[in-house]
């Protein structure tokens, strides 16, 4: 082989090998799916190719070719150099592979969690002791009721996460760092709970030096344990939720959903005799929850999106009065409980039990509201126009991702703004809470809260403060505030009055409570499967100017709002009014 060709091959082999290795390393550095171990196939192919190319390079570099008549000794040296080149390439590949395993894919390997076909959990055994030694902070409701805490087990000094309140603890989410990670407050406030949020660098250094466990901070919730327990018991085993908000502050006092998970079942017990069995128990429970048709992982109060039905008329009426499109006493015509708003066959109809008997065709807006007449609101919606409805829904909080520390869905008026702008039928249906409008129970409670608060949408919150575990001093506090002004005070007063009228003389009259001001609106939302979700939103309080409690109750496919959601809301409000 002539010299220049030889040199060219050498250089190309070297560059090719380096290129392959670089590609393999860079490819390994790209993060893959979370918790999945890195795949080695591309890397091993690169390494194999690089092996051949490096071998060619080293082989050609190690020794010039010996002539035919070279001495035995010269040939021997030539051969040994080539053997040496072979071993050298072997050591170089070891180095590269170590570089990959210990640096490039190290994080992916440490995080990897594989659940085998037999249900065995494969993950770094260092993870469990590390995580288990962290003394996570507690989650406290009502000032002294612990709903999640870490119990230290002697002598291993491992912590066992316990969730002692069956009706409240699920609000904490769950904590299972080894297999499923964490969810809910356990996830959103993890940096405080785990103590990874370094508040004092000096004590942190001291702790590390002495190999002391991390102690997390406690978080305090606005939930009233008595009210939450009561609401949960009243809800019973009905799919749905009860949300009670302090309308004046935005504090969430009760947030009951059913079905829900039992976070204790997902908590790893380090005291278990066999950790593998314990892991398997958790995997089995989780698989059961995931395959449950009732979907207990869905926190209905904040994640459940449903058509709000007639409760949404509160939003439509507010928009109409605030924009001046209508007054509470504006008159609408509902001759026979049917109306057509657009060319075609589609009729908007009142519900069969809604229209009072022996009443003429003329209804005021207030009457339309208290008797929940769809025809009135269909006409009002068309009169109002899509843009104004969109604007007021937004002001009431539709489309907002409230940051309360729980997984949450934003409610929405329609699949797109354009849809309600274009289709009159859709606009009319949306105006009485059908069509494409989707709301969470929390969102509807906030509609009632905004009305009760004087037209301001309060920022909802559930975590009131984070306190240092040792000193009890707050290290973080929520400042209650309003998100935005929704309605002018005058409009708000009118809407509040309409809601009160609805309870005094309308279909929501069973919600009246002795000695308190109560306003409300029922809802019976068609699901499209011949069933309907049962809704009630409302407020109650002793001070007529500032009713304190806003509520939303919702039972999935529960039937009529007046029969199911309303009585539930009434007993919960009565209980809330007993609070000090």
């Amino acid at each position: 082989m002539p010299g220049p060709v030889r040199n060219l091959i050498r250089i190309f082999a070297l560059l090719g090998g380096l290129g392959l290795v670089t590609f393999g390393l860079v490819n390994g550095a790209i993060p893959g799916k979370p918790k999945e171990p890195p795949s080695d196939s591309v890397w091993l192919i690169c390494l194999g190719g690089a092996f051949l190319l490096f071998l060619i390079y080293a082989w050609l570099t190690a020794s010039p070719p010996v002539g035919r008549y070279a001495t035995l000794d010269a040939r021997f040296r030539h051969n040994v150099r080539q053997l040496g080149a072979f071993l050298l390439v072997g050591f170089a590949l070891l180095t590269l592979h170590l570089l990959r395993e210990q640096i490039v894919v190290a994080v992916a390997i440490k995080d990897a969690t594989v659940i085998t076909a037999e249900g065995n959990v494969i993950q770094d055994p260092r993870k469990i002791p590390e995580e288990l030694q962290t003394q996570r902070g507690a989650i406290v409701v009502g000032g002294d009721t612990i709903i999640a805490a870490s119990e230290i087990i002697s002598p291993s000094r491992y912590a066992h996460r316990i969730y002692p309140e069956p009706n409240i603890s699920y609000l904490a989410g769950y904590y299972n760092p080894m297999i499923y990670g964490s969810a809910g407050l356990e996830a959103s406030f993890d940096r405080y709970l785990s103590g990874s949020e370094v508040l004092n660098p000096l004590t942190e250094q001291q702790r590390r030096l002495l190999h002391r466990p991390v102690i997390g901070n406690d978080i305090y919730l606005t939930i009233d344990p008595h009210l939450q327990n009561f609401a949960q018991e009243q809800l019973g085993e009905r799919k749905g939720s009860v949300v009670v908000v302090d309308a004046q502050t935005g504090a969430i006092l009760a947030l009951a959903s059913w079905p829900h998970i039992d976070p204790q079942q997902l908590s790893f017990d380090p005291d278990a005799a066999d950790w593998e069995v314990e892991s398997k128990r958790i995997v089995d429970y989780y698989n059961g929850v995931v395959s449950d048709a009732n979907n207990p992982l869905l926190m209905r109060a904040t994640q459940g999106l449903y058509p709000p039905g007639s409760t949404f008329k509160t939003v439509t009426a507010s928009a109409a009065i605030d924009t001046g499109a209508a007054q509470p006493l504006s008159v609408f015509t509902d001759t026979n409980g049917k109306v057509q708003v657009e060319a075609g066959n589609y009729l908007h109809v009142d519900c069969s039990t809604c229209r009072p008997r022996n009443h003429g065709p003329q209804f005021t807006l207030t009457e339309g509201y208290k008797w929940s007449l769809n025809v009135v609101f269909a006409e009002l919606g068309v009169q109002l126009g899509g843009n104004r409805l969109i604007e007021y829904a937004r002001r009431f909080g539709f489309g907002t991702h409230y940051d309360i520390g729980l997984p949450l869905e934003a409610s929405r008026l329609a699949s797109s703004d354009e849809a309600v702008q274009v289709s009159k039928n859709l606009l009319a249906a949306t105006a009485y809470g059908q069509g494409e409008v989707q709301a969470t129970p929390l969102q509807m409670a906030l509609v009632a809260a905004a009305v009760a608060r004087g037209g301001e949408l309060p920022a909802p919150y559930m975590v009131s403060s984070v306190n240092d575990h040792e000193t009890g001093q707050p290290v973080w506090q929520f400042q209650p505030h309003a998100l935005q002004q929704v309605l002018s005070p005058n409009t708000d007063e009118a809407i509040k009055q309409m809601m009160i009228t609805s309870v005094q003389t309308g279909w929501a009259k069973d919600a009246a409570i002795q000695g308190a001001i109560v306003g409300g609106k029922t809802g019976t939302a068609e699901t499209g499967h011949d069933t309907s979700h049962s809704w009630f939103i409302g407020f109650a309080g002793k001070d007529p100017a500032k009713p304190q409690y806003a509520i939303c109750t919702m039972i999935e496919e529960g039937g009529e709002g007046t029969r199911v959601a309303l009585p539930l809301a009434k007993v919960v409000l009565e209980e809330a009014l007993k609070r000090k």
Binding site: R77, G90, L93, I103, A106
Partner: protein, 480 residues
């Protein structure tokens, strides 16, 4: 690799020493003697000496399990110090011109292993009492190994003696394999692979000795037939080695195959075959022999796979685990997955001696010790080990270049290749670069057979690097 530097490093005169011509006077002779002492070796030995003390101190100070080391357990470090400096002293007097880097490199690799075993013992004892006293036993093996190294240097006065009895060694080797097939026991690994002789106190692994016997035989045989091998027959387009002369080689080749197929000792088979091909190539310079040998091997293995199906599913399983150990990470892939976790948690500088948890890896004290090093000393530790083996191989080949006879050259190349290849095979297996095969990491893994045999290899290399001195004054004092 360059050949420009001389094989043995001569100590340059230390600064401030009188520049006296050797042999001119009594004082001059004295300074000449001082200068010819093995100062390079002495200075290099400070590193393993410090490592053994510092390492043991760390092991004592960091609690790693139920059992705790006491201050008095530092005796192990001092025994080690005594051994390496004792051997150093011996070499100063007996073989002053022997290679000065081999002993320090070997001692450094050895002390890394000893510290890791001292650190692992308490953690392993918390799992099973079987591991009680492995650190003390390792010290014992180091003592025996060092004595064996000394004995090899001191007693093998004439390397031609090894050459003369090469067939005896070969038959001894074959006998060992045969005996293992009959009397071999499974040393509690549970794998059902019977590779050991149980002598009660001591489990002897014949494959360790076998690799040295193989090299001793091959060096003699190939040197005798070197010219014949280099000028092959031409049969049509194919050049074949002279048939009668390759018969013994074919026997050895078959031996490797037997180990591979019947014994399921994949690591040793790979090592033997590697050494065999490497020496064949060095002696003949024909790549064709290497490729042909490999092709024949695989062809034969393929044919045999019909008869030894269970053995071959075993091999297929190993390969599958190598490609993706995760789905079987709780069973067959447990070892390699845990090794990956250990390596990953090490990072660049490691978690520190005593702060890792690699005692969970099966066979961590033997085959998988590089993973424990990777966790506690990090990439710095693992690359350090790789670098040490590279220097060892480099020195070994230089010894081969510098030696005078063809036999010694081949012997040195073969012995060095054992250490280099064995390190690559087991480190590569433990870090999932190649399929994992169970062999020891020379000088680091716990175990007597491996440690003593490898010490003998170093002894032979030292012996090759120090030709029998022709005792003239100028030679003794080092020629310029």
């Amino acid at each position: 690799m360059s050949v420009a530097s001389p094989p043995t490093t001569h100590t340059p005169p230390a600064p401030g020493m009188p520049a006296v011509q050797p042999g001119s006077s009594r004082a001059g002779r004295f300074w000449g003697t001082v200068r010819s002492l093995r100062w390079t070796e002495f200075r290099l030995l400070i590193i393993p000496a410090l490592l053994s003390i510092v390492g043991m101190l760390m092991v004592i100070l960091v609690p790693t399990g139920a059992m705790q080391w006491q201050w008095k357990d530092l005796w192990m470090s001092f025994v080690f110090l005594g051994l390496i400096f004792g051997l150093h002293l011996f070499l100063n007097f007996a073989k002053p011109r022997a290679d000065q880097v081999l002993l320090p490199i070997t001692a450094t690799i050895m002390v890394l292993g000893l510290v890791m075993i001292q650190r692992l013992e308490p953690a392993l004892v918390s799992k099973s009492d079987d591991f009680e006293g492995i650190a003390r036993k390792q010290v014992l093996w180091i003592v025996v190994g060092m004595v064996a190294m000394w004995a090899t240097v001191a007693l093998v006065r004439d390397l031609n003696w090894l050459r003369r009895y090469k067939y005896t060694f070969a038959i001894l080797g074959i006998g060992l394999v045969a005996a293992t097939l009959v009397f071999g026991t499974d040393a509690g690994s549970g794998s059902g692979v019977k590779l050991w002789f149980n002598f009660g106190f001591f489990l002897f692994q014949p494959s360790e000795l076998l690799k040295v016997l193989l090299v001793i035989f091959l060096a003699g045989y190939l040197d005798d037939k070197r010219e014949l091998l280099a000028s092959p027959y031409r049969v049509g387009p194919i050049k074949l080695p002279p048939i009668p002369y390759i018969a013994p080689l074919l026997v050895l080749w078959a031996l490797a195959l037997v180990l591979f197929v019947v014994q399921r000792d994949l690591g040793s088979a790979l090592l033997f075959f590697g050494i065999f091909l490497a020496m064949l190539y060095v002696a003949s310079g024909r790549l064709f022999f290497v490729v042909g040998g490999l092709a024949l091997f695989f062809a034969a293995a393929y044919t045999l796979s019909a008869f030894f199906a269970s053995q071959f599913t075993h091999i297929a399983k190993r390969v599958n685990i190598w490609l993706d150990p995760w789905p079987v990470g709780h069973a067959d892939g447990f070892q390699i997955v845990q090794s990956l976790f250990a390596l990953a948690s090490g990072g660049v500088l490691g978690v520190g001696i005593g702060f890792g948890s690699s005692s969970i890896i099966p066979a961590v004290q033997t085959d998988m010790i590089i993973s424990a090093i990777g966790e506690e000393l990090g990439l710095a530790g693992t690359l350090g080990v790789v670098a040490l083996f590279m220097v060892l191989v480099y020195r070994g080949y230089h010894i081969a270049f510098a030696s005078r006879s063809g036999y010694e050259q081949l012997l040195a190349v073969g012995l060095t290749t054992i250490l280099g290849l064995q390190a690559i095979i087991i480190i590569g297996g433990a870090i999932k670069m190649i399929p994992l095969t169970g062999i020891t990491l020379p000088f680091i893994s716990y175990g007597g057979s491996s440690l003593i045999t490898n010490c003998v290899i170093i002894g032979l290399l030292l012996r090759v690097s120090a030709p029998r001195p022709v005792r003239t004054d100028t030679e003794r004092l080092g020629s310029p």
